[in-house]
Symmetry: D2
Subunit: 136 residues, 4 copies
């Protein structure tokens, strides 16, 4: 398994009139978590896009357990439990508040796609190499 933790401060703009983070904004927290988890492999998502590959989100299943509050320093835990063997990649992600309580968790499925042709492709070798030691 490969996993990484990212820290983020909740912004005022992310809250809604319920006084807590708008549920839809967790998608951004999960996105940041994946991007930072990937950065640790030495070939960023930005590099991937520069090389002509995009990763649209195909499925996102989220459970909201507790509200996230303004100014909290949240922890986003991103896990890759299996190495992808086709055009799909599945992340399991969790968000915790400063006290270590679970706020939300999600399963997020993305595709690897050639941007120019919009055809499916597979995980870049840079990531495969970087992940090899975690999945043997």
């Amino acid at each position: 398994m490969y996993q990484a933790e990212t820290f983020l401060r909740v912004r005022y703009a992310e809250t809604d009139k319920m006084g807590v983070v708008y549920h839809g904004n967790f998608a951004q927290y999960f996105e940041v978590g994946r991007v930072e988890a990937i950065r640790g492999l030495g070939y960023s998502y930005k590099d991937l896009e520069s090389d002509g590959v995009i990763m649209p989100v195909i499925e996102m299943n989220t459970k909201f357990v507790r509200p996230a509050v303004y100014d909290d320093l949240i922890t986003i835990k991103t896990m890759l439990k299996d190495l992808p063997n086709d055009h799909r990649i599945t992340f399991h992600q969790e968000v915790y508040n400063e006290e270590g309580k679970l706020l939300a968790f999600a399963k997020v499925v993305l595709y690897f796609m050639e941007a120019a042709t919009m055809t499916k492709t597979t995980m870049p070798t840079q990531w495969k190499d970087g992940l090899a030691s975690c999945f043997k």
Copy 2:
């Protein structure tokens, strides 16, 4: 079953550098769909909050089928397949583009909560009465 359709124009701000709507923004489309579906019952979500009840989203499972593009007039279809019999309510929602193609669909579960005490409550009678004729 109770169902309603809402129309919305995709904003520039809702797109991302992939050139299409950011996946996380569909949460807002679904929210607008639910709010407008409820308005048809003559007692709006705003009325509900004024009466001290809030409806946090507890679970949202979304599948993204096709991208939504800037300036498209999308249709949000909101369905209530069962009358809630406790503090939970489940909506099934779909988003279509101008050509009638399915872009995304979701199952969204919310709770009825007393805002003051944060305890679970049930669907307001105003909605129950409004929905009665659809579920007999």
Copy 3:
């Protein structure tokens, strides 16, 4: 002068924990106002982009007079007081609530740019023709 009015329902996602619309979200209201004002000329902003021209916002000066509240049906008034004679175009915009009270107003300056070369260009003839009768 050319002017147009657009109507928009305030979304829950647009509010913040102050209980009213987050100030930064007015930028989206102004954007929608400009897009709809332009649509009335028969050549949409989307058409313009398809023809290779983009209009980045260069300056935005906003005054916030009263808060916008959830579920309010706001009116966005968009005014073009002068026909642009170079690469710049200036809009004056106002947002009103359902009771007709002024919530915010802004001056927004945008450039006409060729997307491919990122060089300045001028207003498309389609708009000039459409606007001619308003500025004689």
Copy 4:
């Protein structure tokens, strides 16, 4: 003068189909800049709200010089040039990209307001004390 620098990574969600950060999202960058500048005084904006004071944005004048791009580590510079002597406070803020180039700058005016009564108030003594040494 009091000034502080904050660093932020541009999120994918913050970009639009122009391929760069949506202009309206700079309001969030400026907000984060102010919040972090204030945190340095030992009494956070969150503390202020807990004590019943809110700070609505009353005016925001922004000039956009260069686009901010995805994944860039931007610097937000927040300056307080004068100590407020009534209910108003004015910040001057600048955003720079990784190469140190200026992307945008703004003047932002906020009010100090008692949340319960929505009447104007003045800067909390905690901030005045913390700032005293910077303005003598």
